[in-house]
Every structure is written in structure tokens, then in C-alpha cells.
Subunit: 335 residues, 2 copies
DNA sequence: CATCGTTTCTACAACGTTGTAGGCAACGTT
DNA sequence: AACGTTGCCTACAACGTTGTAGAAACGATG
């Protein structure tokens, strides 16, 4: 069924290599020969065998994107942009789901896949710098702050400043008892640590006290965790006038919990999130948030990977920063 | 850096093939030889080259999942389940995003990828049965009703009955002017056609008139389209007492538009969706919906593909049906 | 002791592709 | 006329793996 270079070659009456040259756009092929070969290719519906090509060339044209969970909207949206950015290089993207488990992340990083892919864009949750240290193999670009001084290129956003700014926005609106949802005790969650730091920075700058009872942890950052954390705050008697959730899904859960408690947003409690997922543009109320430029993040990641693939693989790791902006919507009083 | 069978063989003092036999769990290898080989494998951190293996065996252990858009929550959730179901077979999933464009879907189906993957699970939006007809190549499982009598295995849910049931639920609650959002004029959108049929069936069964002005088209099925369609209905003066949206994102958009128009849900207008995405479990109000068993859909799809890969590739196409249930929440009055 | 079957291992070829080296014309230059 | 250059093409080997065929060692059987 499937045809090979050899079949095309026989049909066109040339050598296998000449067909290969036509397929690869090699210049020195006579126009009539090229035409004959192309005709044969079309007739047989020939398509190159990528595995064989890879085996020979060492390149597949496939990169992997590894994220904790695909049904977290932030990662789904990011995946979309990565796929698009990679398409500009003619690459296909293989998407891997690690579940945020360290073991699975290690498997992905150390490359169960690494003979199949040219490079890896990786958003780790649980992996440590040591896990990454001993890796030979596949060029890698890390997303986020989880691995701070690892051996690989990274794309980050300035979490501390962004968190400070969105908290300052709440303070500017007159809020004084500002809760934070999403802190994490474990070593995991570098983002959590940085966003918490930005939050406390903003409080300090405004002369407000840091009140530990206003800070609620969240094991994962799903809607259910946000709802539970908000409920926890309310039933424990603390009565915040604003809440900074460390991502949008937490915030959507918090909105829900506030609604169930009969509190109005933003009149009784203002809410902000982080990530700018699409849900937040249609929720009731719409959600004020930090909007990282996901398209840019994806482009930068793909670009770093491309440079690494074509260039010096032993060059020192680079770190680039992607922009963000504040997106003020109804949940902090905009209308 | 990367080691080959040959390196392991030299280190263990055996032939290349013996190492291959150990790697593949061949029985007739003396225990001490096996131990020596395994030691060498561990020391060199050997991992087989998948491309080479594929070239030789014709199998990669990689399947592809092609969906229109990853940041449509339904597909993201489905992708998660497919990845998990595939893991049970030791398969990796490559995720492809077609954008729902026919050209791109055709490329995917006819297999730009098809030398790299063993099989394809495909959720087409725009593809026709003819596009699929002439395909040699890769075993394929289709999701949904888009291609009705194609040459490939399919997993479907009974859209007509499900739509009829959720509409009947609205009628049972006393609603009489029930709008529908999501119809599509073009040939695309088999789901739209079937869900519309279920809707009209339910009206007819209850002796209600079909009122064309209550049916709003939606080009795509995003939140923004749902909001626009709902707004359109309201400004055109029709005043429904309930809305059946053909998927949940449309419904979330409709909720938003109703909110902006000052209408309460469910008191003034009841709303139902279709898909049971996570957002609908936390939206305000929470969303009544048809909940297809996504995990089951994924499992069935992977299973069909496995049968096709291991079994008779020319056997007639099979079609299996996945269950669903109604999930009644606040948007139709539950509390 | 000869024969046979089983276990354990090896050599070789092949999967489909492309890089390298080289050959043969045709051309322009001395 | 001899030479080098260029354009076009081919033959061969190699990428890392596994299936096939068969060799060598061993024990069991008659």
C-alpha cells in the first residue's frame, strides 16, 4: 500500500537518490527529470517515512510539550499557542501529560520519548534541579519558576512584580483586609512562593500588616480547591474585603463559594486571579486578573528551542522574560 | 552521549542480538547472561531508539489524537482521558490541533503524520466521508457524528435522544417558549443537526409549536458566540422562558448575556447546556447539562484502535455508543 | 555411543532514508 | 586538442533495530 522512494524511482526511471533529492529540494536536478519524479510521486501518493528519515538525519520535526494537566485551562490555552508557534517552524507537537507527579516528570525529562523528539518544552510542577542535572540528551526549554537554576533555557514572567501590582490595585481601591488563596507548604509551587512574596511586598509598601489567618493554602489549583479555601476562610470567621487568588481557577472557585455564602462580588468582597483564562472573561462577575502574554511565552519557548537545536547545544542556559498586563474587570468593581 | 545496543553488547561481552533479546524479554537467555546485560544497560543508561525500532517493526507505540481546538474545555478534558486510556496500553499520545479547518483535517487524516504513528483518534468538524474514502494507511477511530458512513470505526453518543431528554426536562418544569442556540446552516455540524432534531422531537411530543424565531445559529461554539446569540434573541424581542444551548460553552456565554440583560437564571429564564465541562459545575448559577461519559468515550476509542491494530485491518467498521446522563443543577432550578 | 531435541547464542540481512564519493557529459577556457 | 569546471546523476554505506537462519553446547533418550 505504502510506497517508498524505490517505488517512485522505478516508476520515474531514475535512482533512489534522485527522488530523494527532488523531495528535499536539491538544486541540481534537470527540470524534466524533476517533473517526471514529481509526477511519479503524485501518482503513487508517496510520503516520506519519518522514522527512516529520523534514523538517518537525527531529526524528527517533532517536539514535545509536557504540562501537568491538559484540562487546566491555562495549560490548554498555552498548548494551543505552542502548537501554532511550532507550526511556523514546520514542527509537530507531541503533548505529554505528567499529572504533576515527580516520577512521571522525571520519566518525561530523562526521555522515554527522547529518541522520537528533537526537543522538549516543559512546565514542571514537582521536578527539582537535581532531577535535571544529570541529563544528557534532548534540548529542553523550561516554563515557569519551578526549577530556578537548572541547566536549561527558561521562559518566565516576573511573578513577584505582577503579584505586587495586582495586590496594589486592590489596596488602591480601598481594600484593607486582603486574603490570599493558593499558598503551598511543600517545596513544590515556586509560583506560589513568588506570588505570595509579591503579595506581602504590596502589603508592606502600603503599611498594612501581614495577617497569617488571611492566607489560605490550596493543595492543587483547581476550582474545587479555590471554593474550599474560600469556604474555609469564611467559616473560620475571618472576613476579608478582597481576595487575591494565585490563579484564575482558584478565583472562579472562590467566586462560587462567595456566591453560596450570599456575599456579593465586588460590593462585599473583591476578587482577583492570575492567568487570564477565557472563563474569567465570561464569568459572573468577570474576573480581574494578571494576564501573562501566553502567545509570547509560547513563541519565546519555541524560539529558544530552535536556537538550541540549530546552534550551540553547550552554550550557557538563557532565561527570557515574557510580558504581562493587568486586566481589570467586574470582580474589582469595573463595569 | 547516547548509547546503542552495540555499546551495551560490547560492555556485556555478548552479541547485539542478545541484548535486543534481553530488552524485549525473550525467554531463552541464561540468567547470568541476562544479569550481565541488564547491568550494562543500567550503567550506560541505555534506551532504545524508537525510530529505529519503528523502522524495523512497523510500530511506534505512539497514537495521535486530533481535535479541533485544545482550549475548548470539552476537548481538553477528553484529551486527558485519552492520554490516560492510552497509557494502559503503553502508548504515548501525540495531540494534533486541526482548528476545524477541512484542509488541515485532511492533512492529518491522510497522514502527514502517518509514518510516525500507529493509529489515529480523530474528532472531525469539517471533514467529509469522501475525504476519508480514499485513505490507505493508518487505522483510525472517529469521534462523533460528523462522518456518518465513513470507512472507520466510530464512538458516538445518542445525540438525538440526549437532546430530546434535556429539552423534555425543560418542558416538564413548565417552560413553553424554549429557545435553542447553536444551530448551523452549513453542512458542518452534524452534532448541531442531531441536537436540533432532538429538540424538535421533544417539542412535538409535548404538543408545542416549533418557532423558528427561537432558534439561533452560532458559527462556532465558543462562549462569545453563545453570548452574541443570546443577545440577538433578546434584542430581537423574542422572550424565551428557557434556552437549550448545544454545548456548555455556548451556555456559559448565554448566562453572561442574560446576566447583562438583567434577567435572572433560572427564575426568569432556565438554561441548559451539553458536554458537562468543569466550568459548568462552578458557574453562577451552576449549569444543567447533558453529561456524556468522556472517560468511557476515551476508553472505547482506544480499545477500538487497539483491536484494529492487533486484529483484522480490513474488517468492517464498527460503531459503539457511549452512555450519558442528565446533570440537573441550578440553571434549571435545582438547588 | 549415536542420535535427537532443546537451550542459548550469534551472524546476517533488512526496514526507508540521506550523506559521501564519484562518474559522465557538456561547456568554456587555455 | 587538452584541460578544468559545472551540472546532473548514481552506487554505496550507514543510521539502530529486530526477524530469520543456523551454529554450538548440553542433556536426554534409545
Amino acid at each position: 500500500m505504502r510506497h517508498r522512494l524505490k517505488d517512485v524511482a522505478e516508476r520515474a526511471g531514475v535512482s533512489v537518490k534522485t527522488v530523494s533529492n527532488v523531495v528535499n529540494g536539491y538544486v541540481h536536478v534537470r527540470p524534466d527529470t524533476r517533473a517526471r519524479v514529481e509526477e511519479a510521486i503524485a501518482e503513487l501518493n508517496y510520503r516520506p517515512n519519518l522514522s527512516a528519515r529520523h534514523l538517518r538525519k537525527g531529526r524528527t520535526g517533532v517536539i514535545a510539550l509536557a504540562v501537568p494537566e491538559l484540562d487546566i485551562p491555562y495549560f490548554a490555552e498555552l498548548a494551543r499557542y505552542v502548537v501554532n508557534a511550532a507550526a511556523a517552524y514546520g514542527w509537530t507537537v507531541l503533548i505529554d501529560q505528567t499529572g504533576g507527579r515527580r516520577e512521571q516528570e522525571r520519566v518525561v525529562a530523562s526521555g522515554i520519548t527522547d529518541h522520537l523528539i528533537d526537543g522538549l518544552i516543559f512546565s514542571p510542577l514537582a521536578l527539582t534541579a537535581e532531577d535535571l542535572a544529570g541529563l544528557d540528551g534532548t534540548p529542553m526549554v523550561l516554563l515557569g519558576e519551578r526549577v530556578e537554576h537548572g541547566p536549561a533555557d527558561r521562559v518566565v514572567i516576573d511573578n513577584v512584580t505582577a503579584a505586587r501590582e495586582i495586590t496594589a490595585h486592590l489596596i488602591r481601591l480601598g481594600h484593607r483586609r486582603i486574603a490570599a488563596i493558593g499558598s503551598q507548604r511543600t517545596d513544590e509551587g515556586a509560583s506560589a512562593r513568588l506570588r505570595l512574596a509579591g503579595y506581602t511586598d504590596a502589603l508592606r509598601a502600603a503599611g498594612l500588616d501581614y495577617d497569617e489567618t488571611l492566607v489560605a493554602p490550596a493543595a492543587a489549583w483547581h476550582r474545587a480547591d479555590g471554593a474550599a479555601a474560600m469556604q474555609g476562610l469564611l467559616t473560620s470567621g475571618v472576613r476579608p474585603d478582597a481576595v487575591f487568588c494565585f490563579n484564575d481557577t482558584l478565583a472562579l472557585g472562590a467566586l462560587r463559594a462567595l456566591h453560596e455564602a450570599g456575599l456579593r462580588v465586588p460590593e462585599d468582597v473583591a476578587v482577583v486571579g492570575f492567568d487570564d483564562i477565557e472563563d474569567g472573561r465570561f464569568s459572573i462577575p468577570t474576573l480581574s486578573t494578571v494576564a501573562p502574554d501566553k502567545e509570547k511565552i509560547a513563541q519565546l519557548a519555541v524560539e529558544l528551542l530552535a536556537n538550541r537545536l540549530d546552534g550551540d547545544r553547550t552554550a550557557p542556559a538563557r532565561e527570557v522574560s515574557a510580558p504581562y498586563r493587568l486586566e481589570i474587570r467586574e470582580s474589582t468593581g469595573a463595569r
